[in-house]
């Protein structure tokens, strides 16, 4: 028979283990550029012949001045555009924006159903588990090269969490 204390110890060990796993999984795909944290950049695998792809990530400004994302580029596509996307009343709408600001302390989520980077003119098919290099450019002239982790078509880290 297990007593309450044993159960408590077992449960808290399980919780700690779970947290350790979650944190290491997250850290594996995270980047930092000064006060900016880039968490879990990823993309979808693309269908055969597809010429457009997307990039998603979470951007957090831990500093005290706004950070502006002004553009991005990748060797896998002709160009990268910043898009606002919405699905309202059953209609998907997408608009190009020249960039966006991340206020001090704020997090901007690039995610399915919302804002994303669109890879225009893909020169290769994106396969699940590939890493696609992407360079982000910021208003202060800083750039950072990151890798997008390729998830299944229609899949993604968010799908695992829900």
């Amino acid at each position: 028979m297990m007593n309450a204390r044993t159960i408590r110890v077992a449960l808290s060990s399980a919780v700690v283990l779970l947290l350790v796993n979650l944190i290491s999984a997250a850290v594996a795909h995270d980047y930092a550029l000064g006060e900016l944290k880039i968490v879990r950049p990823w993309t979808h695998a693309t269908p055969t012949g597809a010429t457009t792809g997307v990039a998603y990530m979470s951007l957090t400004n831990t500093g005290s001045v706004p950070i502006r994302l002004t553009g991005a580029s990748t060797p896998a596509a002709q160009r990268v555009e910043i898009h606002m996307m919405s699905v309202e009343g059953g209609v998907m709408r997408m608009r190009l924006v020249p960039g966006f600001d991340i206020a001090p302390g704020a997090t901007v989520e690039l995610e399915p159903g919302g804002m994303h980077l669109m890879l225009v003119g893909l020169n290769r098919q994106l396969h699940q588990e590939d890493a696609i290099p992407l360079t982000l450019a910021f208003g202060n002239g800083a750039t950072i090269s990151i890798d997008l982790h390729v998830e299944a078509i229609g899949g993604g880290p968010s799908a695992h969490n829900h």
Binding site: P47, A50, G90, M92, L96, M118, G154
Partner: protein, 203 residues
């Protein structure tokens, strides 16, 4: 004169209003696509082409329940995600999936030739039949199905398409039987498709 000024002002305002309506899609914003009525007949005569170059008409969409999604291959997110979802849902349905006709209709026929569409759809369940055609025919079927779509120019070249992101469900007589929303939960979507697959059972 006062009257002359008023007339001129009215004319200019009208001109501005008409321009806005015509140029900026204000019309579509003011009058969004109508909400279809359950049981209303949706299918009108059409002439489209599948990815093998075969003619497809409204008769190919009748006789068994149909699942219809409108999109385009340059679509970065909603279309590949929905086609991947459809692929998973059909797998989940098992043999019931064969009771359904599944169609992906291009709203961008200028770029989605039968060949391009075929290549794109080869990444998904082969039962998803790709349809394209000339602009007038695409417009006809989209209107009949209450589908909104609009070409949007991108600064610096190229364009994208805004479009209805829901999957339409039709019974075997081509009557509106519901929709599946973008990112609808898998269990809900599969339950809807299962019900649709068996909707002709009593007939």
């Amino acid at each position: 004169m006062r009257t002359a000024r008023l007339v001129a002002l009215t004319a200019v305002s009208l001109l501005i209003a008409l321009t806005l309506i015509a140029r900026l899609g204000v019309w579509d914003a003011l009058f969004p696509p109508s909400i279809p009525t359950f049981g209303a007949s949706m299918v009108r005569p059409f002439n489209l082409t599948d990815t093998n170059g075969h003619k497809v008409t409204e008769h190919d969409m009748l006789g068994r329940p149909a699942v219809v999604f409108f999109g385009f291959t340059y679509c970065p997110e909603v279309c590949p995600t929905t086609l991947a979802d459809l692929t998973n849902w059909l797998a989940e349905l098992g043999p019931d999936a064969d009771r359904l006709g599944v169609f992906f209709v291009s709203v961008d026929p200028a770029r989605d030739t039968p060949t391009e569409l075929g290549k794109y759809l080869s990444s998904f369940d082969p039962r998803i039949r790709g349809l394209t055609g000339n602009a007038a025919d695409i417009d006809g079927i989209a209107k009949a199905f209450g589908i909104y779509y609009q070409r949007v120019e991108i600064e610096g070249g190229g364009y994208t398409m805004d479009h209805t992101a829901s999957v339409l469900l039709l019974d075997s007589s081509g009557r509106f039987a519901g929709t599946i929303s973008y990112q609808e939960a898998k269990e809900v979507a599969v339950a809807k498709l299962k019900r649709l697959a068996h909707s002709a059972d009593g007939a």
